[in-house]
Amino acid sequence: MSVVIFVLMRLAPGDIVDVLFAAAGYVNESDKQFLMKELGIDKPIWAQYVDWLRGLAAGDLGKSYRYDQSAWEVIGPLVPVTVELAALATIFSILFGVPAGILSAVRQDTTLDYVLRVVSLAGLSLPSFWLGMVIILGLVAWAGWIPAVTYVSPREDLAGHLVQFLLPAAAVGYRSSALLMRITRSAMLEVLREDYVRTAWAKGQNGRAVIWRHALKNAILPVVTVIGIEFAFLIGGLVVTETVFNLPGVARFLVEAILWRDYPIVQNLVLFIAVVVVLSNLLVDLLYGWLDPRVRYSS
């Protein structure tokens, strides 16, 4: 993975020195060589890779070319912002998507089912960046107000912090919730047709027990898988939302770093995203075992 990240970045044409000279409006070849040497990007790629791995093993993530500062100092403050936003968006999607999916399945082919399906279809069709922009422009047009455009620390102003995060979380979470709703609905419909559910109804168990204890518990596995994938996707996929709501997160910064060819920042951020993907998959596997005893026993 690290090799792929490292090599791919260097295959893209141009480097940080080109970008720096672009900001000055000219290029001087001898100054360029001097600067490349100063930044260590004149070395062969394999030597740069070894240097990076060696640093990584010693807990040194390298130095941002753009900011002339340790990569960790640059990346550190961004991580909690993105993790919080992704977590809030995931919570929003679960709170809205799963109950809506259950309702839609239980009330299949009713007006409520049709309305919820249209809502979910809209969620999948509308890009979250468009929705984010509409939220911002709508707020400013109708209320003359938008959330803070600089990061509000929860320690300083918890209410302001929540307001700042809830709107983007809703904009992103809506799409995920639409996906969850559809997965929950189809999984529930499948389970609701099973013999043991029919038996439960026949035994005269109350509806809530049948749906929550018998049906949902068995239908939830594919939903959990999707939640895990969505969370991992959000960590790296919040670029536009972070940009529209001006949140200083990982995804927005990653794009900036790519445009600046700030290799140490890109390498470490991509590695971070890869670690989150692996960890969220691991968590989903563990949840499988907890939710379904058959998985636990078979393993």
Binding site: V19, L20, Y67, W145, F245, F253
Partner: protein
């Protein structure tokens, strides 16, 4: 209470008597160390000026090279760094049109031209301090400008140096005494003062390594750097030891970085920001804000930024002046301003047109230049020139138009391509990522390009030497004409403004006739700001009004 008061008085008197000699000495020392800085030439404070408040300023992107203004040529660095620094001289913040007449004292409280404009003697303010407490002296001035002009004996070197050519006429810089500095010139050049007044020309401290400006800022300016949160904001706080009496008014400035343009202006409209970013409020944006009823004041100003076409003169077919002129004739400049900028740009040759600039050609002169007269006549003339160069319906001229893959550049290039089609030229668009654009242009690996040029000062020297002089690194077209060079040198050393103006006009006409770098239009800004922001006067040049020393908030 009656008992306590005399006791307290006695205690104070007793402490004063005991500590008297010590306090006296300390006060004396403090007097010596904190003598007020000389304030000659400094404007009296505004009678209604209110102190306090934090100005929330819009910023479109993070700093490219920290606060190292001398190492960049982008407004994104100059605008938020200017409050940290002082220049030797500066443009009057209250006069939007900049010229030699609007240059006022800054760190130099006065100056004197000597030896028929060969020596510029600057008398520096006394007791001015850097933000770290070190005294400011003529050594700092010599250090800064020797570094920028890359003098042989310069103490340090900039890793990127875009404005070296501005000071090509400086022979030596002499720190005559701690408060006098002399710029010795090779030949007379009155415009040197304009260059020194630009936002691009701050004085750096000699005792701080230049590399440190990429992450911190030590200046003598009205504001000290408080915090730079990467990608979020840059915050300054008032410099309590600032030399100008009663300034700055503001407690601080926070430049909030908002990457998305829609969000930037929504934040301005919602009151999350107080002022715009220079050059950002195009006419469509301003119209939209006005229509929405936003409580903002708008100031229409020039930007001193032009859209221009670059052609690789060293390679066919653009080594043929007829082909270049045909291309210039084909593009209708007034249609360009309407279509690409929705009326938010004005036609003009190589100097910013009046009333935004001082040197621009008059309308009657412009009308005679390629691309400015009647479009149909111009296009017919273009076809004729192409035929003379051997191109026509049988042998169509095919060219590649390169530009940066950014919407504003692509719109510009697309318009030109469409215009060229009307005279039989087939141009294809090649979008190049920003990181690749300048290397490509510098290596001259392009045929034609849609380019933007911002000029630090409204003076022919700041423009011609940088963009049209033989061998200049920013002369992307490699246009080099001996006669034009002589004219550029002649206007540069002309002391009589009345004689200099026609010379400059003549050069502009010649550059347009030769299609050296045909100018498509000059961009306008509508700088919006909240009504409570006072004393901020946008200039007709984006680079020179960011000091914020005179700005106050009427809240």
């Amino acid at each position: 209470m009656r008992l306590r008061l005399p006791a307290a008085l006695l205690a104070i008197v007793g402490v004063a008597l005991l500590a008297g000699p010590v306090l006296g000495q300390a006060q004396k020392g403090a007097d010596t160390g904190k003598a007020p800085a000389s304030t000659k030439g400094a404007r009296a404070p505004h009678p209604n000026g209110k102190k306090g408040g934090i100005l929330l300023a819009m910023h479109r992107e993070d700093l490219a090279q920290g606060f190292s203004i001398h190492e960049t040529a982008t407004i994104a660095t100059v605008w938020p760094s200017m409050p940290c620094f002082n220049n030797l001289v500066m443009f009057d913040p209250f006069k939007p049109v900049e010229s030699l007449d609007t240059v006022i004292p800054d760190l130099a409280e006065r100056w004197s031209w000597q030896d028929n404009y060969r020596n510029l003697v600057l008398f520096l303010r006394k007791n001015v301090k850097w933000h770290d407490g070190q005294p400011f002296t003529s050594k700092d001035v010599k250090y800064t400008f020797d570094m920028v002009r890359q003098a042989a004996d310069a103490q340090t070197r900039l890793r990127i140096n875009p404005r070296k050519d501005w000071y090509a006429n400086v022979e030596t810089i002499e720190a005559a005494d701690p408060h006098t500095v002399i710029f010795h010139l090779k030949r007379p050049q009155p415009s040197l003062l304009m260059m020194l007044a630009s936002g691009y020309s701050p004085v750096y401290p000699a005792h701080v390594p230049v590399a440190e400006f990429r992450s911190k800022c030590v200046g003598t300016g009205p504001f000290k750097l408080k915090e730079w949160r990467k990608g979020e904001y840059i915050e300054f706080t008032r410099n309590p030891d600032y030399w100008a009496p009663g300034r700055p008014y503001l407690d601080g400035i926070r430049y909030v970085i908002v990457k998305e343009r829609g969000t930037r202006f929504a934040a301005l409209q919602a009151g999350r920001l107080d002022i715009s970013f220079p050059g950002e409020a195009t006419k469509p944006i301003a119209d939209q804000l006005k229509a929405s009823g936003a409580k903002l004041n708008f100031t229409p100003v020039g930007t001193n930024v032009n859209d221009n076409l670059i052609m690789n003169i060293k390679k066919p077919p653009f080594d043929n002046v007829k082909v270049r002129r045909a291309i210039s004739l084909a593009v209708d400049r007034r249609a360009y301003a309407k279509a690409v900028h929705q009326g938010g740009a004005v036609a003009g040759a190589s100097m910013q047109p009046k009333p935004y600039g001082f040197w621009g050609l008059l309308e009657k002169d412009l009308a005679r230049l390629p691309g400015y007269g009647k479009p149909e006549e111009n296009k017919a003339e273009a076809r004729k020139l192409l035929a003379e160069a051997g191109y026509g319906p049988q042998k169509r001229l095919q060219v590649e138009m390169g530009t940066r893959a950014i919407a504003i550049y692509v719109d510009f290039a697309s318009f030109v391509i469409n215009e060229l089609k009307q005279v039989g030229i087939e141009a294809t668009l090649k979008q190049v990522e920003t990181a690749q654009w300048h290397p490509l242009v510098t290596r001259r690996e392009y045929q034609m390009g849609a380019n933007l040029t911002g000029l630090g000062i409204d003076d022919p020297d700041g423009n011609f030497y940088e963009n049209f002089a033989c061998g200049s690194p920013r002369n992307y077209t490699d246009y080099c004409d001996e006669q034009v060079m002589k004219m550029i040198d002649a206007q540069s050393q002309e002391l009589d403004l009345k004689k200099r103006q026609p010379l400059v006009a003549q050069i502009q006409r010649k550059l347009e006739q030769d299609a050296a770098r045909p100018i498509m239009g000059w961009r306008l800004d509508h700088f919006p700001m909240a009504p409570h922001v006072k004393n901020l006067v946008p200039h007709h040049n984006i680079y020179n009004y960011g000091r914020m020393q005179e700005v106050w908030l009427d809240k």
